[in-house]
Symmetry: D2
Subunit: 385 residues, 4 copies
């Protein structure tokens, strides 16, 4: 039996963590061949140079696709996506994969979906069926409707994909590969390195050894003009709290400039002594940092997902993670300095946070590879009702 | 109250008939302003020069978007769509509409959906919720998941859109504007012109006055290599039947070359005396031609939709209209000469075909304009379950 | 010493004849490796499917680039070129050639030049330094200014490239590879096949065996609206002359529709009994057809170039070949029925047409390969004065 | 007589200074109408937000064209240019100008040239005929070969354009509009504002009032990997010299990251007390700053051009301005700390620097407008020899 060529398109740093153990499992599987395409902001230094980590992890890259238009506004997001369709159409025409994997719900993931499905290549969507509160919501469900096979991360998500009319034989709850990474971390969770020494970053050399916070706040696309104002609330709360804090710059999105310039301007004005800023970190190190932190603050999906498995307290701000299934580690709050401040205090004080396996049990990568190897994936479908 | 700017993107000849009376109603409505964008094959002579009919009908065109890549294969379909996203992103950035309308399910309609929704412009999808059997099926439902307001053409479609998790206050059954045109025709349905004299075309000058067939067969995207073989079955059946026939060339799609070259080659070989070929016709004239025909043969949606209202017999071939709601005017058959031949004979003989209003009652255009004028359309949403 | 990777981009059917023997020589040369890229209209059935001939000739194709935008107007020419730059930038990034060859002066050839030179890849321009009368003139000299090495086809052209300020050590007169093909033909020039039997075509089955004309008339870009009117003059002259004639459809260019529809409309009206129409022919067969014809009529560069070597009489119409160096085989005339008619008669009667080696002596392909193998090509330059 | 529509495409901050007074003169001229298109990095905050200055100066912007692809490497430069051709083709199709102006020699300026000339719109090239040492050299002369009218900035440049074979009636030495700005400054040259107070910037608050240096060093494209090393030499020299210095970040180009990261890293390591860094300045303020400085250091063309008129000493480093005509204000040096250091000292000490009008006498803008109003510009041409 011939080996199946599985083409995976990674378009951004956070997506890599969401797929890494599956990539390893596909690469190892005797019935599968991995064709890894790195595209978009995953190729750019400004957004953390994911491509370097990926190569360091030993993956061979079949194609690199430069497709990000400058502008960081909604128009350039749309144009980046359009360019992505054109470029990825070429890539799939060239690689002739037996199936293509598109990951989650970033705006440019629909480019992968269109380029594959329009060329009659079976499309696999990873992590569909979840619910959030901005353009990602539209993109994720549109990906579902373009995809032929659905590998979702929770029971909740599976049920939703089925309700949308997908074929039950083509929907599997595999959990999320990011939990596989958390699983490895959890077993041996000591923070063995000095973050500032290893990653540099900017700002004061904070005294993190007795406990620290982590912040990661992204702009929310449909509200991008207020991104600057929103991040200021968090900055003020964290500044006032005066606990040593590691703060991560946002990834590329419309409004990144808003969030980034909000942070930059606050730094210039207040020169906060308790905050140290990082651009990014290797995924494993980042998880270790989280696992040892007092609390994660912001609106990253890592708070909902990996932190639920790790049992790390989270203060989730604003609408970005709306309606995603949560463990008992999360407190939700609004863009309000006082509310954020109170929520952090309450979370830090909380003692009974438990680990949850809503999003997986640490074996997702292998499960995904097995399903790919053993499922015949069609390239067309009709709605079930 | 300020006037709402409604931007409608027409990308192909058949889409124009599906929206024409709505365009008129929007243009006339005191609370609405029409921004008409003509794109894709609607601009090209090869595909019937829809733009000329549109201008002749008195519509002002705000922008023309050249976006069709040559190739007529799945790769060029994908690239055309990507280019469409880039170009339409510019257009919407420039026109700043209050809402954008995307029509039905042709492959390039998702370009309109992405360019609008990514720029946070409310997106309206016309004619979602139906079911067919190829790439259109994926595109249509993906459009639904990107759209904020849904104006569907039948109760069946409405129910399906709701099941997919859309907000019930944003789903309306308006019927299809193409039925409005059929309604006008029905009232006074005499074929007042000589089709060959008015439209030229190629082939023998057939004696149509005592009754004639109409054929319109498009390639089916997921089966595009067999397009040539498929059309030959219909050609042979119609040739053997020896009834005067008007045959319409297919519109642009991957495989159009297959269908077209099948037709061309048959013509050279058999020089059929009973078939006259047209490239296209003004929509009204085409409906009049249908209304006076003995039977429509092929796989056009006109057979399911307009012909059900007109009560014209239809032989529907193959999978292209699978699972679309039908009136009693339709017989389904496969790509098989004998089956097609029998079906045509049976249909022609049938006496009790009645008009149906499944797809509208002739007032769709006005209903659409009223809903647009009176509904506040959001530009984000979350799934209902 | 490592082998040099030479990437050649062929974008159209006529360009293939202009480079074919050089491709063969590069492929065979021990110090060179051929990377053949087929792009643009060379991939499209409508324009003669050059890619099929190329594959049949035994060349392996490294990349296929679909880049032609429909429209056949000046705007789509520009957009096709822009898309070509984007696509070819990817291709060269992927192939990492040691040098890139761009051929002559078609509008899209500048895409090759930009994609290579902007990526600091040495650029070789074939057939620069000539003079004509439309957009090709601008494109050709712009290619010269972007190129690092110039392989020209005549002494006249060499002198012109030097005058433009290019480095004399980087300009070589190799003659034109198309003359190599003419050279092979000349040795054994009997028309061994029946053109109509072998190539089909449309129109009457003319009696060509006692002598025939060949016509090839392309639209002239800067005058594209008059293309239809211009071709009518030639049609009328040839029709009146009533000598058996093989007429070739024009290749892709803005206005092709003008010329083509002019031809089509004339055919419908006059049903000329002495003209048979071909879409295209394998290059060798075409040369053989020319070598045995009474006269070539139109504005193809084949008349100036190959026919001068073959000693075939030519009536050259209009401005398209303005100021290209000519042999004594050519008579120039304007778009005027009477003038064309007289010129054809005069040419056919003429007895003393001799073969000329202005454009090469039949060894161009090998000369080109030798120069590529033995020249170190820089990737930047400054003007000589 | 109808007014002539002149479309000017500004793609970067420095180009704006090179055209500003011509824009004003075109806008005022009764026979001309200005269509101003702002494109590329001129729209982006990262590169100085030229668009804001332009709007503040009272110009109405007809179209904004987002076309910059992220990557800052040669591949993204090529793709940005290709995208520019596609987008500008749309813009010119829409605006229907009577002539288009492309400015100087940045890589993306050829996009303007292609989009205009391929659509048969007369193309005007400003500031052709000069000589430099990288990709700009190729782009500039290719622009010349695509252009129909040439408005050059010096006699030297005029002679070169003529030698390239352009029509003498279509080549005018108007001088450079940037000298017009220098002319205004010169009349009243007091530095009336505090640069740090007005523009912020980063780094120490230096004591500039008793005299200061200005540095502006861009990466050189064909050597872009060494950009980081090159800038370090200048940094070290200026650091050692310990004179208050205003340093400007480089503009967008392949390798900007090299230069920028070289600067950033030097700042972190040495924390230079005598250097203050600016992103950019309004053109007038920048000229005033130069006019009052002891010396300009780097490789900006401002040193060759505006500073020759202002009589400001310049240390020009490396190959970027090779072979541009110079006044007696310039000393050339290599990427060598000691050489740079000595050159600065020598220049500062020099007393007899005089103003030169090589590049204009302060009336260029008006001259340009007059020529545009009174010249009939063709849209095709043939080389003169």
């Amino acid at each position: 039996m011939p080996v199946k060529k599985i083409c995976v398109v990674v378009t951004a740093r956070p997506s890599y963590s969401r797929i890494k153990t599956a990539l390893t499992a596909i690469k190892k599987h005797p019935k599968l061949e991995l064709q890894l395409v790195i595209a978009g902001s995953a190729l750019l230094g400004r957004y953390g140079n994911a491509v370097e980590f990926i190569e360091k992890d030993g993956f061979e890259i079949a194609e690199k696709v430069f497709m990000v238009l400058e502008g960081e506004n909604p128009t350039s997001m749309a144009k980046t996506t359009g360019l992505g369709v054109m470029e990825l159409a070429n890539v799939f025409y060239k690689l002739q994969p037996d199936a293509v994997i598109t990951i989650a719900d970033r705006f440019e993931t629909i480019a992968t979906s269109i380029a594959a499905s329009y060329q009659n290549i079976p499309l696999i969507h990873i992590q569909g069926g979840e619910v959030t509160g901005n353009i990602d919501e539209k993109v994720r469900h549109a990906n579902t409707k373009l995809a032929d096979l659905h590998l979702v991360a929770s029971e909740d998500a599976k049920e939703r994909v089925l309700k949308m009319g997908e074929n039950p034989t083509m929907v599997f709850n595999t959990g999320c590969p990011s939990i596989d990474l958390a699983h490895e971390i959890k077993v041996n969770s000591k923070l063995y390195f000095d973050p500032i020494q290893k990653y540099g970053g900017v700002g004061e050399k904070i005294d993190w050894e007795k406990g620290y916070l982590v912040v990661m706040q992204h702009p929310v696309t449909t509200e991008y003009e207020s991104a600057r104002k929103d991040v200021e609330k968090t900055l003020e709360a964290v500044y006032e709290l005066d606990i040593p804090t590691f703060w991560f710059w946002p990834n590329v999105d419309a409004g990144a400039d808003g969030t980034s310039s909000g942070i930059r301007s606050f730094r210039e004005r207040k020169k906060p002594k308790n905050i140290h800023f990082f651009k990014n970190m290797e995924p494993n190190d980042f998880l270790l940092l989280l696992a040892n932190s007092k609390c994660l603050i912001g609106n990253s999906s890592v708070g909902i997902r990996e932190c639920s498995y790790l049992g790390v307290p989270v203060v989730n701000i604003g609408t970005r993670q709306n309606r995603r299934q949560r463990g008992n580690n999360v407190t939700d709050t609004q863009y309000d300095k006082k509310a954020i401040l109170e929520a952090i205090k309450e979370r830090i004080a909380c003692e009974n946070i438990t680990s949850s396996s809503i999003y997986g049990d640490g074996k997702s990568g292998e499960k995904i590879a097995e399903i790919l190897a053993n499922t015949e994936i069609p390239f067309h479908k009709t709605i079930q009702y």
